[in-house]
């Protein structure tokens, strides 16, 4: 057997974790699912609004927000972190818009400027006050989901709930879902047709900043325990994969949740097999699911396109427009 890849042992990779370590792995799987679901839900709207890169930006620029919040409040409590991230997230959005609107610099370049600067400020702050800040840039970037079950467990009304990060993430995922259900039509119309939304009296700016705030909260609650790699990937992968499989928004939202659950579970098993980072394994499995959807999607997949092209040689995407009342 090749030495480079650990031997694949079905029992060790698939059975053992659930037989011996169910207590541990259930929390990792749940955490992965909550992160992917919350990120995926918000991410769908980022993709639809052509703002995928803004998600990337905000997930980096919350770092100084967390650091400053910590320095000011001298506390690592959840509300303080959320507040810091929220302010940093909104500030990033504002900076991007100001650079984009008030200079000749285009939006993608503005995004690059805003988040790299804020991230660098965060790194400086942390190294400057390293003795006072119980934060580690390394940990924020490569936080490890495998340690999640070790976090202190929390209780509610005397009932044991689970490790604190998992409970918090579950709450944030549920909140994201609730807000998307409540404001479904406002989000839909302002994403699809901002002009109509404005003429209906729906404030596009408010929707934009509300979405960015939600994104900041999702990012910061996921960040510390799972790292930036998983967060950034899960903002885009679930939505992108689901959009290949369906063209109905509610179905797309649901499918991105399924994608999150599958990448989380498959990622755990991949990382047990390869003895590698769990977050990275989850991302790789998420990407593998994307490739599967890309190839095999019944409507938009490479295979379906290839097959239909073979049967109907002149089927082109830009066919002449059909006549009225066809």
């Amino acid at each position: 057997m090749n030495d480079l890849i650990p031997e694949f042992d079905f029992a060790r990779v698939f059975i053992a974790p659930w037989a011996d370590g169910a207590q541990t792995f259930i929390w990792i799987a749940l955490m992965g699912f909550f992160v992917a679901a919350a990120c995926g839900l918000v991410g769908n709207y980022l993709i639809l609004r052509r703002m995928a890169l803004v998600g990337d930006a905000i997930s980096h620029s919350v770092l100084p927000g967390i650091a400053i919040a910590f320095l000011l409040a001298n506390s690592r409590s959840t509300p303080v972190m959320f507040l810091g991230a929220l302010v940093a997230g909104i500030l990033t959005t504002v900076i991007i818009e100001v650079i984009h609107k008030k200079s000749r610099v285009k939006q993608d370049a503005a995004i690059g400027i805003a988040f790299s600067t804020l991230f660098a400020i965060g790194v400086i702050l942390i190294s400057l006050y390293a003795d006072k800040v119980d934060l580690d840039a390394e940990c924020v970037l490569y936080g490890e989901i495998a340690f999640v079950p070790l976090a202190p467990h929390v209780q509610m009304f005397g009932l044991p709930l689970g490790p604190e990060p998992v409970v918090r993430m579950g709450f944030v995922a549920a909140l994201t879902l609730l807000l998307i259900i409540l404001f479904y039509k406002e989000l839909l119309v302002s994403s699809f047709d901002p002009g109509l939304a404005a003429s209906l009296g729906i404030n596009a700016g408010v929707m934009h900043y509300a979405l960015m705030s939600m994104l900041s909260v999702v990012v910061v609650s996921a960040f510390e325990s799972v790292g930036a790699i998983l967060v950034i990937a899960m903002l885009i992968l679930p939505g992108a994969t689901a959009s290949l499989l369906s063209q109905r928004l509610p179905v797309v939202l649901l499918l991105s949740g399924v994608h999150g659950a599958l990448s989380s579970l498959l990622g755990i098993h991949l990382s047990i097999w390869l003895e590698c980072s769990m977050a990275a394994a989850m991302v790789v499995m998420g990407a593998a699911l994307f490739v599967l959807a890309w190839v095999f999607s019944p409507g938009a997949g490479l295979l379906a396109t290839w097959l239909s092209r073979r049967s109907k040689p002149v089927r082109l995407e830009a066919a002449p427009q059909p006549a009225y009342g066809r």
Partner: protein
């Protein structure tokens, strides 16, 4: 109480992009129940005018009244048909979803479209002969069909004053005549429509009144009065020689008919 108020009243409306005025001191009083064309050369500020009036663009000076009321109080009485190219037609929604958006203004926050809203949406789709497409994904539509979906959505808004941004651009002849029939029907029901249009020869046929625009208001009045060589010359500047040829050709065509 306000039933006799002008559908739209603008006073000294000025709009600027980056301190450069695009529209300058527009005064306008649009009566109710008319089908009005907004014509002028490219860059004359036709789209800017309707966007500014609806509050989608900031106004540098002047004011807007809709049915004698400030804009904010009359949002429900305004319907909008944006340019077809302004949205992403690959968006994961169906024809029905798009038409239902026309109902959102009446629903208010959080509330979902009801069965009645769906009935209204279906009726509006029927009016533009698009009901069989109700469950289609919008990316599978032709340009003319997309435009008719937008019109159905505007109908679903059940407004009294409509702003339409180039509804005739890039549609097939059949859709064009379907749209015109619809606009006439709306006019008979007392609705007022302001339509951005860039084709002069048809403008003369289609509209009761014309707004001739080139950054300033050149003229506003019944088509028969303002569709004159002199006023068009002022609106279009030197390029009119070609245009007057076209207009002449149309005139001849009419005689032949």
């Amino acid at each position: 109480m306000h039933d006799t108020a002008p559908a739209l009243e603008l006073h000294d409306l000025t709009v600027a992009y980056h301190k450069k005025p695009v529209l300058w001191g527009i005064d306008l009083e649009v009566p109710q129940g008319k089908l009005i064309g907004i014509v002028g050369p490219n860059g004359a500020g036709k789209s800017t005018l309707i966007k500014a009036v609806m509050g989608l663009l900031p106004i540098s000076s002047g004011w807007v009244k809709v049915f004698g009321q400030p804009l904010k109080k009359s949002l429900q009485r305004i319907g909008y048909v944006p340019q077809r190219e302004s949205v992403d037609w690959d968006f994961p929604v169906s024809v029905m979803d798009v038409v239902l958006m026309g109902r959102y203004g009446r629903l208010g926050l959080i509330k979902r479209p009801t069965k009645e809203d769906r009935e209204v949406a279906r009726a509006c789709l029927e009016k533009v002969h698009m009901l069989p497409y109700a469950n289609r994904q919008i990316s599978n539509l032709s340009g003319g069909q997309q435009q008719r979906v937008f019109l159905a959505r505007a109908l679903a808004q059940e407004s009294d004053l409509y702003f339409m941004d180039e509804p005739f651009s890039g549609v097939d002849a059949a859709t064009e005549s379907a749209i015109i029939t619809l606009l006439h029907e709306l006019r008979e029901r007392g609705k007022t429509m302001l339509v951005v249009h860039h084709d002069l020869p048809t403008a003369r046929e289609y509209f009761d009144m014309l707004i001739l625009l080139n950054m300033r208001l050149v003229a506003f009045g019944p088509t028969s009065e303002v569709f004159t060589n002199e006023l068009l010359q002022t609106t279009y500047g030197g390029r009119l020689t070609i245009l007057s040829d076209v207009a002449e050709a149309v005139k001849e065509q009419r005689i032949l008919r």
